[in-house]
Symmetry: C2
Subunit: 497 residues, 2 copies
């Protein structure tokens, strides 16, 4: 059974939070984690295990009695880590990276330690007020109008994911429309977005009961940079209105998942506003870049929209989960989502000026996540966060340059932020299907080395490789080595076909 | 500006995850946290600050340049902590406690460190497979039938909160019904629960588009232990069916928030099944107790229900957020919630046997939370977790005994788990309103001391004080001291009226 742990029950006394035992083990864990960060390049970035590898080696039941910490750590190293895809690896160029930092980690340690459940103000005043403050700070960094801040008449809230931000704003929009047209008419409501919008948008619509047939995903083109066209939007909306349907919600993208395409906010919001629609901007990835003046213009027209969300876990070093949502009219959220059971009532919540964040989100419980943003903003300052964004963009630009310099590759979509969309394209007479086969083989080969992890997408019928620069530990040399590996794969591929 | 930090940009190089700097600061943070745990009794458990206290002292904007870690920690201590309600305090008897442990903390550190985004199997195989394994382990500890396990034909998933578990199962039930009766008929769908059900149930129903007029919250009584009565349920369902409505979902409680009332699963599920309804059991708090044989009978009939959720953050030491949901038919969730965008496609996800957890939840991204449960189960073993549940129940029983021993107090609802529902009741001719006034004053007085935090509820017209035992650091002496304080408050109160 191994040695006796102090956790073992003695005279039926069990203390799972003995501070001295905690101190000892947590120090050991810090060293384990620091070593992991230090050695991360020694692991294959994409796990090479087979489906079911872990379930086959783990016991069927939880142990009856405690096991020594050393055994558990050994199993972590030998059983769990080999099956992990290392999102923190500097060789991770897949999806969008989820960025991290020392300050974010320390903030998360505090958030965990306090284990505060801040559903309303009284449940932990500091949790509510610090969240209000950092949401205003970030709004200011993004140069949002005061109407999105608590300092003005709006405000922001930290959600887990973009999906949640889209769901709550959809509900606010849906309920506002149903109040006007009658609650029996949910099947008349129509929502709009470009066909490049993340799949969670359609999922969110289905969740809140918008019929799938009323979700308009308007086609975009390579020539149009995969942006939603205001005239196409107008046409779709007017057709629906003519059929007696009710336009209710427009979701705009600032940086789509496939290619970081950008929808022009101002002209699109104008179309939507003519029809009284709720306009949401999903800036999950690229919104963070707008803290740099050179990217801020992508938010032009933001004063015309109802809500904006972006995920600091994607590009502002916070670790998961952290999605920030701002609204100009918090009452629309509160009206749709508030509850007032007796067991949560208190004097403060009955005051008009209080913010009870449970009424801004789907669930009741919520963690003290603002600590992470607070530690990041103060530890690094706005200047360093801008440096960090620019450094990723500079490395992506460097990779773009390398692709352009290679004769057998091409950039498929112009690069805007940290994502490069390219493909292997060895000859003029390379049809869609053949090109897809080649690029798929190249991708599989690269990923199977464990030295680089990239993903793909398909846009305008073209199979495209995505190279997303931004893992926190990535440096110029990793980008250069990735490019060498890709060229090596392409050379090998050409020899086999 | 303080001293220069190594985070400060030098030659435009900014490394927010330098492993050695991380190691140093994280060790300091461990000591800060261990000290916090050690000194927690020195803080008022319920914060005594005024609305707006923190926003008034924090700067309006984030700093341009980095600030020293020491300054930030000092502000944490002087500005943030005074505004916190200390959920970890052994004197916290409010709501339900959120339990914690050393192993849970270490698991959370690992989860953060890896920052794995396990939306599908390939994105991190170990994350998916460990979650499947610990969900089966916990199902086994609860003696759930194999039909709720991956070892059988079902399975479980970790959500953030009960709300999410209720929403996803409501959607599965809603879509199944609409497939049968036609998608235009959402206004015909009716859902059922007792009037003791958590307010998030009605909120979840509104979120998924069930009309508020179709939410039946069936009255319960003190005499009936606030349980939902099978005959009342049958009557409500039959009335609705006779009006042409379609019963679609029944939410049962195993331990309500107000009084830990229990709905008898077997007879209620039988009524629901006659009408083809989805039956969900919300066992957020008390479900965890069913790992002890003496409480397991509350799950009798569980094989008749479609889904069960419970929150280990409430009683299994995991820290927030951790809600476990099991379903007998995972396909019903996947059918309602799956997405398949090109940028997430991969060979493994196209295999029938793979579990992609994004299709079991609302959003896409998800953390590697199973590490927490894994560390807890292995570090403590089932035996210690049972000891921990029993210890809380024993202390609640002790408090119940003290209340019964005092001449001026009464137990309002028989105690079942760790919650005691009682009131100050100084005389026979004490009407509802007078009693409410007295108990409210007593509660305010007790909470204003900062030495104990309790909350209240109202059931069957009676204003009741709730004393929930279960904060991880609570010991017999804290329960005894709380009782002395309550008596002191009652004595003082009697002198003023």
């Amino acid at each position: 059974m191994g040695r006796i742990e102090s956790d073992q029950p003695q005279n039926s006394h069990f203390n799972p939070l003995n501070p001295e035992e905690f101190r000892k083990r947590a120090h050991e864990m810090v060293d384990f984690i620091a070593d992991y960060f230090q050695n991360i390049e020694s692991y294959p970035v994409l796990s090479q295990v087979q489906l079911g590898y872990l379930r086959a080696i783990l016991p069927e039941n939880a142990p009856e009695r405690p096991e020594p910490f050393e055994t558990i750590l050994k199993d972590l190293q030998n059983q769990i880590i080999p099956g992990m895809t290392h999102w923190l690896s500097p060789n991770f160029f897949a999806f969008f990276p989820s960025t991290v930092s020392r300050a974010g980690f320390l903030g998360e340690m505090l958030c965990t330690c306090f284990n505060t459940v801040g559903f309303n103000w009284l449940a932990s005043p500091a949790a509510t007020e610090l969240e209000m403050t950092v949401m205003d700070w970030l709004a200011d960094m993004l140069k949002l109008p005061e109407s999105f801040m608590f300092q003005g008449s709006g405000g922001g809230v930290i959600h887990n994911t973009t999906s949640e931000a889209v769901i709550v704003t959809l509900i606010a929009a849906r309920d506002k429309a149903l109040d006007l047209i009658g609650s029996d008419d949910v099947n008349k409501l129509v929502v709009y977005a470009s066909d490049q919008t993340h799949s969670t948008f359609a999922k969110a619509c289905k969740i809140v009961g918008i019929p799938p047939t009323n979700i308009r995903l308007i086609p975009t083109t390579l020539a149009g940079g995969f942006s939603l066209s205001p005239s196409e939007l107008r046409m779709a909306v007017e057709t629906d209105v003519a059929s007696g349907l009710v336009p209710v919600y427009l979701c705009l993208n600032l940086g789509t998942t496939s290619t970081t395409a950008i929808d022009p906010i101002e002209p699109l919001a104008c179309v939507a506003k003519e029809h009284g629609m709720w306009v949401h901007v999903d800036a999950a990835y690229a919104g963070s870049a707008c803290i740099c003046p050179e990217f801020r213009h992508h938010l032009n027209g933001i004063e015309l929209v109802d809500s904006l969300s972006l995920s600091p876990h994607k590009w502002l070093l916070t670790f998961l989960d952290c999605c920030c949502l701002w609204v100009q009219n918090p009452n629309s959220l509160v009206k749709a989502l508030s509850t007032n059971p007796e067991y949560l009532r208190n004097k403060q919540s009955e005051s008009d000026s209080v913010v009870d964040f449970k009424d801004w989100q789907l669930g009741t419980g919520r963690r003290f996540k603002s600590l992470r943003l607070w530690l990041i903003f103060r530890s690094y300052g706005v200047v360093n966060l801008q440096t960090h964004i620019r450094s990723d963009v500079r490395m992506a630009k460097m990779f773009e340059g390398l692709v352009r310099s290679g004769p057998r590759f091409e950039i498929v979509v112009p690069r805007e932020f940290g994502l490069v969309c390219f493909r292997f394209y060895p000859g003029e007479n390379c049809g869609f299907e053949y090109s897809k086969m080649l690029n798929r083989k190249l991708l599989d080969w690269v990923n199977s080395t464990g030295r680089v992890y990239m993903t793909h997408t398909k846009v305008g019928g073209v199979y495209v490789l995505r190279f997303a620069v931004g893992a926190t530990l990535t440096d110029d040399r990793h980008v250069a080595a990735a490019w060498e590996l890709i060229k090596e794969g392409a050379d090998a591929l050409l020899k086999t076909i």
